[in-house]
């Protein structure tokens, strides 16, 4: 039924997110897809990456054979430290979020509501082992929380919804949603279009998401 549109690949989506990260920003990239954003930061922008386990100035993965398992990211993968980087304990690390010192965090999501409620820590399945990590602290702490995800589930349902049905991570905390088909702003009045892939009109997007989407700001 839905016509096919040229979807952004994971790398194209990461590049789209990276385009909006400003020079000098302190950024936390969530586990999974958001970590790809680091590979696409436009040249000439100096960005400081924060990792909630206690690193500012996180660098790329080390060369094979020089991994140091005392120097890992929040996803527990070995990383490196850039010149100027710093280590600190967990209470300081989360103070950086809650205290409003972190400019941007980019997170994955199961669902986002039109007004920016986020559900990304649990699908609420009975018997699942619960784990929440730093998602709740990041979601409400960063000056801007952005979500990066596929717009549709494997079954074709929109992950942008009027109201989240999965357990919430935070209320009205998401400012932007970057997806494989379009980029949205979440506002107190609902969704606003930022951009969409070629050939996908706002009206067609409203049909896919099933919610009103205000035109992009001029």
């Amino acid at each position: 039924m839905t016509p096919t549109y040229p979807r952004r690949t994971k790398d194209q989506l990461a590049a789209r997110v990276a385009l909006d990260i400003f020079d000098g920003a302190v950024v936390n990239l969530g586990i999974g897809q958001p970590t790809l954003v680091a590979n696409h930061l436009p040249e000439g922008r100096e960005v400081i990456l924060h990792s909630e386990n206690g690193i500012l100035g996180m660098g790329a993965a080390p060369a094979a054979g020089s991994e140091d398992y005392d120097l890992i990211n929040a996803g527990k993968q070995p990383v490196t430290l850039l010149p100027g980087g710093a280590y600190f304990h967990h209470a300081d690390s989360f103070a950086m979020m809650r205290g409003g010192h972190l400019d941007i965090c980019v997170l994955g999501a199961f669902q986002v509501s039109a007004k920016g409620d986020l559900a990304n820590w649990s699908t609420g399945e009975p018997g699942a082992i619960p784990a929440v990590g730093g998602a709740m602290d990041l979601a409400i702490g960063a000056k801007q929380t952005w979500v990066m995800m596929d717009l549709l589930t494997k079954q074709g349902a929109s992950k942008i919804v009027e109201r989240c049905t999965y357990p919430l991570t935070g209320l009205a905390c998401v400012k932007r949603v970057y997806t494989d088909l379009a980029t949205f702003a979440c506002t107190a009045h609902g969704l606003q279009l930022v951009d969409a892939v070629e050939g996908l009109s706002r009206e067609a997007l409203e049909g896919i998401v099933g919610l009103p989407i205000a035109p992009a700001a001029p």
């Binding site: 990792s51 909630e52 386990n53 206690g54 690193i55 080390p62 054979g65 020089s66 991994e67 140091d68 398992y69 005392d70 120097l71 890992i72 527990k76 430290l81 280590y87 600190f88 304990h89 967990h90 209470a91 690390s93 989360f94 103070a95 979020m97 809650r98 018997g127 082992i129 619960p130 784990a131 929440v132 990590g133 730093g134 998602a135 709740m136 602290d137 409400i140 702490g141 357990p167 919430l168 991570t169 935070g170 209320l171």
Partner: protein
């Protein structure tokens, strides 16, 4: 003379009681006091309340502590043999810090409106919503540091610092492993992360986990 150096892990852990609340440092592969956890298993204290960020990797660390019937966390949890309080990571750190700092409770924005806030008291302050959070005190903290001296001053290594400094503050008794024990004055006073006032015992362990490439991650 003040001498916080224990000669062995067993000496350092002597006297931990059944029913104790034990704060255990570490995040992922970094900063886990595996030698102290193994020592705690050998020491035999039961019915512990453990405060920790991870339920262990594979069958080492905390997973080993839970291995009463050679099951690990998931199995024990599903079998109802384990009670679990789930805490957002930053709240865990701040509640531990608050305990160490003598704070009675604090209002925190994290988790407001989510099921993890449960039925806790909430309050609007300057237009923002907060949840009342209580401190987490430990009877014992087990942490891993890099180097220490006989006063208990500690420095850490890279991201292995994680929960160590706040857990050290929050327990009545803090035991730290170090790879190097140095003379008083050898640690740069400007660089000491955890002053010895927060530390009860240090014990030297072999350096296996921290050399680049020298530590094989659990499968």
């Amino acid at each position: 003379m003040i001498n916080k150096i224990a000669q062995s892990v067993a000496d350092a852990l002597a006297g931990i009681q059944d029913g104790a609340t034990v704060l255990i440092g570490g995040f992922g592969t970094a900063g886990i006091p595996n030698e102290l956890i193994d020592g705690l298993i050998a020491q035999g204290a039961k019915d512990l309340t453990v405060v920790n960020n991870n339920a262990g990797n594979a069958d080492v660390g905390l997973a080993a502590l839970l291995q009463a019937d050679s099951q690990v966390f998931d199995g024990l949890y599903r079998a109802g043999k384990l009670e679990l309080e789930l805490v957002p990571q930053g709240n865990l750190a701040e509640r531990i810090r608050a305990a160490g700092a003598g704070i009675g409770a604090f209002f925190c924005p994290t988790g407001f409106g989510t099921e993890l806030a449960g039925d806790r008291e909430t309050r609007e302050i300057d237009g923002k919503q907060y949840v009342l959070e209580y401190p987490i005190h430990g009877d014992v903290a087990l942490i891993k540091a890099e180097a220490g001296d006989r006063w208990g001053n500690l420095v850490f290594r890279k991201a292995a610092r994680n929960f160590g400094p706040v857990m050290a503050m929050a327990a009545r008794r803090t035991i730290a492993t170090v790879h190097d024990i140095v003379e008083l004055g050898a640690l740069d006073p400007e660089s000491i992360v955890t002053p010895g006032i927060f530390v009860s015992k240090i014990v030297r362990i072999d350096r296996v986990a921290t050399l680049a490439g020298g530590f094989k991650k659990a499968a």
